[in-house]
């Protein structure tokens, strides 16, 4: 298979080889047969229109790493489980299912892994606001306090700073 970079370890910013979702399990199997026998990591990224699933697999002989990715539609995020090839993928897939709402077909263990209670929507999707971001005041809102002379420093008309990624109306962020 040429799609998978099984040579030099992928550095930061390197493009990750991509396979169609239908070929995901087969791509992993081919890597496994090529000596990449140790699943290092499996996670997902919310790309908006789709969710990208990424796996990093190492070759225990020389510890070389290969990465492979696929995309599943945001509307129907279903992907074949990698546990048939790498049983250790179970832990990562449970986490990815919980955090990104991806359903892994064939994943035998679907118990929640990290969250005490599954929220209405997966918390790591970009459209979701973390409750902690709403509940806790932003430390960046602080300004140097009023000086000893009672005058406030800086230009009082300056627009108030807002934290990135938090809605203006906190109520909007409540799940």
């Amino acid at each position: 298979m040429t799609a998978v970079g099984a040579g030099a370890p992928p550095g930061p910013g390197a493009a990750i080889p991509e396979v169609p979702a239908s070929a995901w399990e087969q791509a992993l199997r081919e890597l496994s047969e090529a000596g990449f026998d140790c699943l290092d990591f499996l996670t997902a990224v919310d790309r908006g229109h789709c969710r990208q699933v990424i796996a990093r697999i190492r070759r225990s002989a020389d510890w070389q790493a290969a990465m492979v990715s696929t995309q599943v539609a945001a509307a129907a995020p279903v992907l074949a489980s990698a546990t048939g090839v790498f049983p250790g993928a179970s832990w990562h897939e449970r986490e990815t299912a919980e955090m990104f709402g991806i359903e892994f077909e064939g994943l035998a263990d679907s118990r929640p892994l990290l969250l005490r209670a599954q929220p209405a929507k997966p918390p790591l999707l970009r459209g979701e606001f973390l409750p902690a971001r709403v509940a806790r005041p932003w430390p960046g809102a602080a300004e140097p306090e009023v000086g000893a002379d009672g005058r406030r420093a800086g230009n009082p008309s300056r627009r108030r700073q807002r934290p990135l990624g938090v809605p203006d109306e906190p109520a909007q962020g409540r799940p």
Binding site: P139, G140, P144
Partner: protein
């Protein structure tokens, strides 16, 4: 606790270099930095009016929240933050991971190479 250098074990602060500009606090993705400051007026000889300067009162990093991304170090215009090879010690409760100026100053004195 030491790790091989150059290591990103903890973040140290030089309180003398910090101008309380709040850039690190506002850029921190995990909201783990809390900074307290006030302003004072300084009269320079020959100046027509006094200058207003920020004075740093408190600076704390919550190592229970910090993800060691180093953005605070990158954005600091005054190089008041730096990586240290030391690491925050384990504590019995999460509040013990909030470390203030005294601890952070010590880490600034032992910087990493990068």
């Amino acid at each position: 606790m030491m790790t091989p250098e150059p290591a990103h074990g903890a973040i140290g602060l030089d309180p003398q270099a910090c101008t309380s500009c709040m850039l690190c606090v506002r850029e921190c993705p995990t909201w783990c930095i809390e900074l307290g400051s006030h302003t004072e007026e300084v009269s320079d000889p020959g100046a027509r009016r006094p200058r207003t300067v920020n004075v740093l009162d408190s600076f704390a990093i919550d190592y229970g929240l910090c993800m060691y991304c180093g953005i605070c170090i990158e954005v600091c215009p005054f190089d008041a933050l730096a990586w240290s090879p030391d690491a925050a010690d384990p504590t019995a409760d999460p509040g013990g991971l909030v470390l203030g100026i005294d601890q952070l100053r010590g880490w600034f004195a032992t910087p990493s190479d990068s």
